[in-house]
Amino acid sequence: MSLDNINDTAANEALIKEVLDQYPEKAAKKRARHLGTVKSDAEGNPTCGVKSNIKSVPGVMTVRGCAYAGAKGVVWGPVKDMVHISHGPIGCGQYSWSQRRNYFTGTVGIDSFVTMQVTSDFQERDIVFGGDKNLDKMIDELEVLFPLNNGISILSECPIGLIGDDIEAVSKKKGKELGKKVIPVRCEGFRGVSQSLGHHIANDAIRDWVFDKGIPEWEGTPYDVNLIADYNIGGDAWPSRKLLEEIGLRVIGSWSGDATLAEIERAPRAKLNLIHCYRSMNYICRHMEEKYEIPWVEYNFFGPTQIAASLRKIAAQFDETIQANAEKVIAKYQPLVDGVLARFKPRLEGKTVMLYVGGLRPRHTATAYDDLGMVIVGTGYEFAHNDDYQRTGHYLKEGTLVYDDVSEFELEKFIEKLRPDLVGSGIKEKYSTQKMGVPFRQMHSWDYSGPYHGYDGFAIFARDMDMAVNAPIWSKLKAPWKAA
């Protein structure tokens, strides 16, 4: 697309209208509140002005998932030394088996269980008679087969809440018997409007079933921090940890990618919580602030501009030594940043990008694209709340198209009309977008690449965006006998 008319408010508003006109009246009215453009408010601050965290409209092909996906797939599943039971019928555990790339170290099936699918595989009799008794016996079986597990979580699928099972009672009983944490998570898929409530429920389970129930032996330092809500997709949390250690902090817990239960138990001893994905774990940070008086800071480790800003922001919470270290670290990596920009910026400058992702990426990755000279022309969240959109406006330019809980229909029309040079979204959107001849990167799984966090990750991010945008195949879409 031509750069002259990008982020043109009037054109984007007209596009929204065109799309809404295709809906039945009632659905159009519902969807209208979720689509908009970035505008300036009375004080001149950019705002997204869309409604969010509302039930999806039936039949429109929302991209959203469910509470189970948020609780098991996102928050609990990556905790590596626990066995996570997908409690209910076979499907939920099967489809989510090994699908988030929460990297970890350990021996699978022995002391680590992340890439396993453990399920109670509900049958009709379980629906009729309840699943509590079998769950009890199942936990005994898991203890026999996986004696080095450090705990068990029970992630409820839809039927559990509907048939009135009491997984809390089973958890209490088994926890006592085994002398381990057995944690019930009430994340039935029908609860709430998206993955988001699942995150919240999973956070509450940490509060209610992990905290204040025994902390491993521990000697603290003034530099102890928790790295919260980095799921270690493709190893993201590791370059992040490296940077924090380099500025002199001690990461005593990293949640929940590559985490052990001990790292969660110990968290209330930290001096500061650093939260990466605000959406999925702000709840537990707020709780720790209220109960243990641990302050929390949001940060963004995508792209050199935000990495530097975040390192300074984090360092500002500590003494001058840490602050001086932060400057040294920023300076240390500057040659790498310069090298990456010299190599890739000329190939990407001015290219337009549309994003549609989850938690924090629709805003946090925007500035990494900025660093490469790319221009965001549309962004939106699957399961954001109002506070996410409040945090988004200043990342974007006025006129940028914003879409909340976009339907596949809307997204396809927006892509068709805006013809961006790159779309970043999920597996369900990948192939339809590429068929349209538009380059695509999966921005949930990093398209099987990564890490993207930190300076080490930025180099990979830049390489991957270049690979997608400048792939030679995009020139071969039309048969030559048709091209003329």
Binding site: G109, I110, K435
Partner: protein, 511 residues
């Protein structure tokens, strides 16, 4: 510093750099509170033992790494194979997201499917309002010719009645009264994706044959043969291969659910949400076919029973892979259609036999552990025995006693099956124990087998759904003589790779 702009290291090599190995070691030592390395090593060894195997097989409740999915996945897949049909899932929206992702990861294609996003209020009051609104929106936005409704377990547990709900939706003019909305109840706590496939195919036939305009009586034969492919991750290429045979023979046929186009659309600037599929008029007319052939017995029992209740003869096969299975299918098609099997196909058969004869010495007596859906495992066991291999462990999570008996009879009938065991209702954690205690030369299954390959060191041949970690396998057929040839080559390649890696002395240029 491990990273540089000129030599960018990603997850594959970055974490082997000293900065990262040190970081990970320190994290483990200082913060993780892990069991000792000795304890881990001891448990790892123990997990390979016969004693562990016995404990593993003693479990009655825990299911660990099963190889099956739930009913609505099969229903969504089946529905996608009809002309401009939108699969619709009545229940929680997360399920639809999972089905779409699961199919997209295997086929490397978009998978269209809507849900009606039932939440807490629907759990209390039922999902009628959702379906009324959902059908209207889906029709207006995606303009399908048919919407095929299946259910998630949420809708099943609260007891939503699809027939009544769809009737009400039509009364409320959410979709026109004559708009096809077939349905299937697909509780995920019964059976697996193959049962969901069966239920949806039956639901669609039932709509056109009994519901749309009242009961249709089977009329004069239209001379065609109906073919129901069954749930198949290779359907894209397999259906095309099947059609090539039928076209070559000059047989008139209707594939009942053909996903070969919709899950294999071109990249040419246009996204096709619908492509190909069984024409709805052909579905209506399929009642008048001469006969129906189900290519996968365990994917269509209820459908077959229903078709027979309409007076149409049926025959079921178990996935036409290998020599005798292809022979039997072609002969049946020839018998039903009266068309001879042409020489060109006979030559293809001869070339396959030729190839196997050339390679048999490398295959003879090779032990194979095999897992997958019931029909696939049966077919592969037959073909392995044709190759002179021994299907040592035949494991199927989603089969029943009938299949078990049939498998046992098959293996008992063939000397290459003498030492084979059938494991029904077992999962891949069971198979791990089997492979450690009674190892094989190869594993044949899906991508999920990669964990077994890593643990046991036994090479995996990926030959069935789902295949997530290799690209485009499903674009080449397994069916027929050509398909068997391809399976043969994949098996041989793994055997030769292992042979080459095993000995410097025996590193022969020619094998």
């Amino acid at each position: 510093m491990p990273q540089s702009a000129d030599n960018i290291k990603d997850h594959i090599s970055l974490f082997s750099e000293p900065e990262y190995t040190k970081l990970l070691a320190e994290k483990k030592a200082q913060f993780e509170c892990r069991p000792t390395d000795d304890a881990v090593a001891a448990q790892l060894e123990y997990s390979k033992s016969w004693e562990y195997r016995e404990k593993n097989f003693a479990r009655e409740h825990a299911v660990i790494n099963p190889h099956k999915a739930c009913q609505p996945l099969g229903a969504v897949f089946a529905a996608a194979g009809f002309e401009e049909t939108l699969p619709y899932v009545h229940g929680s929206q997360g399920c639809a997201a999972y089905f779409r992702s699961h199919l997209a990861r295997h086929f490397k294609e978009s998978s269209a499917c809507v849900s009606d996003s039932m939440t807490e209020d629907a759990a209390v009051f039922g999902g009628l309002n959702n379906i009324v609104e959902g059908l209207q929106n889906a029709l207006k936005l995606y303009k399908p010719k048919m919407i095929a409704v299946s259910t998630t377990c949420m809708a099943e547990v609260i007891g939503d009645d699809l027939s009544a709900f769809i009737g009400t939706a039509k009364e409320k003019e959410s979709v026109p009264a004559d708009f096809p909305v077939p349905f299937a109840h697909t509780p995920s706590f019964v059976g697996s994706h193959v049962v969901g496939y069966d239920n949806m195919i039956k639901g669609i036939l039932n709509y056109f044959w009994d519901r749309a305009q009242g009961e249709i009586v089977r009329g004069e034969s239209n001379g065609k043969i109906n073919i129901i492919p069954g749930f198949d991750g290779y359907a894209t290429a397999n259906n095309r291969e099947l059609k090539r045979y039928l076209d070559t023979m000059g047989v008139d046929y209707t594939l009942i659910s053909d996903v070969s186009d919709v899950f294999d659309t071109p990249t040419d600037g246009t996204y096709r949400m619908y492509d190909g599929g069984t024409k709805l008029d052909d579905v209506r007319d399929a009642i008048n076919a001469k006969a129906t052939i189900a290519l996968q017995e365990y994917c269509s029992p209820k459908t077959v029973e229903y078709i027979e209740s309409k007076g149409q003869p049926t025959t079921s096969f178990n996935y036409p892979l290998g020599i005798s299975a292809t022979d039997a299918l072609l002969m049946k098609i020839s018998e039903l259609s009266g068309k001879p099997i042409p020489e060109s196909i006979e030559k293809e058969r001869g070339r396959l036999v030729d190839a196997i004869a050339d390679s048999q010495a490398w295959l003879h007596g090779k032990k194979v552990a095999l897992f997958g859906d019931p029909d696939f495992v049966y077919a592969m066991a037959v073909f392995l025995m044709e190759l002179g291999c021994e299907p040592t462990h035949c494991l199927c999570t989603n089969a029943g006693k009938e299949w078990e008996a049939k498998m046992k009879a098959l293996l008992a009938s063939n000397p290459f099956g003498a030492d084979a065991k059938v494991w029904v209702g077992k999962d891949l954690w069971h198979l791990r124990s089997l492979l450690f205690t009674e190892p094989t030369d190869l594993i044949i299954g899906s991508s999920y087998g990669k964990y077994l390959e890593k643990d046991t060191g036994i090479p995996l041949v990926r030959l069935t759904f789902p295949i997530f970690d290799r690209h485009h396998h499903h674009r080449f057929p397994l069916f027929g003589y050509q398909g068997a040839l391809r399976v043969l080559v994949e098996i041989l390649d793994r055997i030769f790779e292992v042979t080459d890696a095993s000995s410097d002395i025996s590193y022969d240029l020619t094998r």
